[in-house]
Amino acid sequence: MNTKLSSKRKPNYINPYFGGVLLGLLLLTIFYVAGRGLSATGGLKLIVVTLVDKIAPEHAENNAYYRMFLPKDGSSPLSNWLVFGALGTFFGGMLSGAISGRLGKLRIEKSPKISNTTRLIAAGVGGILFGIGSQFGRGCSSGAALSGTSAFSFGGLIIMALMFGVGYVFAYFFRKLWI
């Protein structure tokens, strides 16, 4: 579909509607197979739980939140659907990048107006905010907003609306980061 003229300069992404339909069908598949939605942060959460449990088991046992995700039978929290899903996401992205030639050397993508450090700090801060928010919201953009809303969860709709709404409200203040 790419015109030959510009195929060098422009990455050959797929049509976003096509991606959307595929993602929708994937959601349907996971509803059909697993009876739940996609998840991205769940895997990271279990990694955190495992790390804390390894380093300070008593501390993990005393914290109500860690305890919630430590399997009662003493098995590793890592042997969980969510962790494998997150791993799959990573490798799936890598595969797609390799196929369409985007897999490359380490680099930073940013607006030309800001320095690399600024971009990395922003990414880190954004990640921390997202990490905390995803725990309060019981799901991230894929788990709560996308899968939740698709399964008609009211909470998922709230998170989706807020995520985009707040994004628009604060977009003005952070425009330098992007434009």
Binding site: I108, G133, G137
Partner: protein, 201 residues
């Protein structure tokens, strides 16, 4: 018929293989749609690139409509599909933080994995940030334990909340999505005319 795992049609460790496959497909679709680029994602907030909205809404309406048809045909038992419970207070707060994190960091966790996978340092840093954020949240959990579970509405669906059937909700979403697709494509065109600095990564 479905869902297969809750009905124990698929058991044992096969579900991990399936998780890996579905996760892989998820990552592939995200990356191929361009979600590994934070500037592309952030474009949704500045009007120069609405690819996030397109993928997101298309996926949602296809899934919603398909889900209802599948349930109608008896392929999926809706009562066995997980409906995210609504804890109003903590979800409002969480949504707020995520919106903020979204516009500052330019990723969400799933997309940051794919960005990291193709070698973007900012993606790695974002994923690390998420990890740190979850750790901070867990460590401070005792301070807001009550807030975390306050105002629990249970596994309530959108339809139940506003008093219509899920079919109507799905229809409304389809209409909204189509209108949004049209409007955003016009906005995008206008914004891009005035933009010289943005190029595809």
């Amino acid at each position: 018929m479905g869902p297969l795992i809750p009905l124990e049609i698929i058991t044992g460790h096969w579900d991990f293989v399936i998780a890996l496959l579905i996760g892989g497909a998820f990552g592939y679709i995200l990356e191929a749609s361009g979600f590994s680029s934070s500037r592309m994602i952030a474009g949704v907030f500045y009007g120069y690139n609405f690819v996030v909205l397109r993928v997101f809404f298309t996926a949602m309406i296809v899934a919603m409509v398909g889900y209802l048809y599948f349930s109608y045909m008896g392929w999926i038992d809706m009562s066995l599909v997980f409906v995210l419970p609504t804890y109003l207070n903590s979800m409002l707060f969480g949504g707020f933080l995520m919106g903020l994190g979204f516009v500052i960091g330019g990723f969400c966790p799933g997309t940051s994995y794919t960005a990291a996978a193709i070698g973007k340092i900012d993606g790695v840093v974002f994923a690390g940030g998420v990890l740190l954020g979850i750790f901070i949240f867990s460590e401070l959990f005792p301070f807001y334990e009550d807030f975390y579970v306050a105002n629990n509405l249970g596994n309530v669906t959108i339809g139940e909340m506003i008093g219509v059937s899920n079919e109507v909700v799905a229809f409304a979403f389809v209409v909204i999505a189509i209108v949004a697709f049209y409007v955003t494509s016009i906005i995008e065109k206008k914004v891009r005319k005035n933009m010289t600095e943005y190029k595809f990564e």
